[in-house]
């Protein structure tokens, strides 16, 4: 399938809808699930949705900046996953739980 071909048949809006749906699914997961690991995973999902959109725009507009941005996002996501999981392990070690609703100390 050549490049021009897919551009002729798939509009940018389709990617927009796709990534929006993915994003919403990820968001729903963040809101709905209580397991911290799943939460982190859902965040990754949301990030990927954004990545997909960035790439789509980048390609459609013929500008590589979007892809560079995706690259950076991946970097940050990796760092976030590492630190997030480390924190999670620590929390688990202290509380024997990974349930976020258990963490209700975050108030003044």
């Amino acid at each position: 399938m050549s490049l021009l071909n897919i551009f002729n048949q798939v509009e940018i809006s389709h990617y927009i809808y796709l990534s929006t749906v993915l994003f919403a699914i990820g968001l729903f997961g963040v809101l709905f699930r209580r397991n911290a690991i799943i939460l982190l995973m859902c965040i990754e999902l949301m990030l990927n949705a954004v990545n997909l959109l960035f790439t789509a725009f980048s390609t459609y507009m013929g500008d590589s900046d979007g892809q560079i941005f995706v690259f950076f996002i991946m970097v940050v996501a990796a760092a976030e996953a590492a630190v997030g999981l480390a924190i999670l392990v620590l929390v688990y070690r202290n509380t024997r739980k990974t349930d976020v609703s258990f963490l209700d100390q975050l108030k003044g």
Binding site: N5, L18, A24, N35, T59, V83, V89
Partner: protein, 180 residues
């Protein structure tokens, strides 16, 4: 509207969404992780469709390879493969669905409103390593270096957090602490 779309795109999109849903809904965390990895694969396939070959590969290596393995590793480490998560109430599910749905709606609406067709201006080969490398190491060299520092910081942080310490029972709620 779907009829005009090429079959590969449709299939891919369908698989992506389906697996993403499974990530969210699966009771077993391990299944979730596996589904997520599958999602990443489909997204990588999208990248290929979009002529972003470099990203497709990086996505596979970094996400599906590194990050997701990390997740899986932690799951195993903490022995959370069982379905231990307490089920949230329906109310909470509805609230989450409404919130997420409304955001979806609004973003979609935003696109609809601002929906001027973006001029198609495809350029061959921007998704290749060569092209990206040029940009990355010229215009974006400073951010690139900064990400290196970020990684370093993340690494130090992760190590520091992971280090086992005594008496760091701060997060145990009072009642449990008084028990022990």
């Amino acid at each position: 509207m779907f009829q005009q779309l090429p079959i590969p795109f449709l299939i891919l999109s369908f698989l992506t969404i389906l697996s993403a849903l499974y990530v969210v809904t699966s009771k077993n965390p391990v299944h979730s992780v596996l589904a997520l990895i599958f999602t990443f694969f489909t997204i990588s396939a999208h990248y290929v469709l979009l002529n972003a070959q470099f990203l497709a590969v990086v996505n596979l290596i970094v996400y599906a390879g590194a990050i997701m393995v990390l997740f899986l590793f932690v799951l195993m480490l903490l022995n959370l493969s069982k379905d231990t998560e307490p089920v949230k109430s329906n109310w909470w599910g509805i609230a989450a669905a409404i919130s997420a749905g409304s955001l979806l709606l609004i973003i979609t609406a935003a696109f609809q409103v601002s929906g001027e067709a973006i001029a198609k201006n495809p350029v061959e080969g921007i998704g290749l390593v060569k092209a990206l490398g040029k940009v990355l190491f010229t215009r974006f060299v400073v951010p690139f270096e900064l990400t290196g520092i970020l990684f370093l910081a993340a690494m130090v942080g992760a190590v520091l957090l992971g280090k086992r310490e005594k008496n760091n029972a701060v997060l145990i709620p009072k009642e449990e602490r008084s028990d022990s």
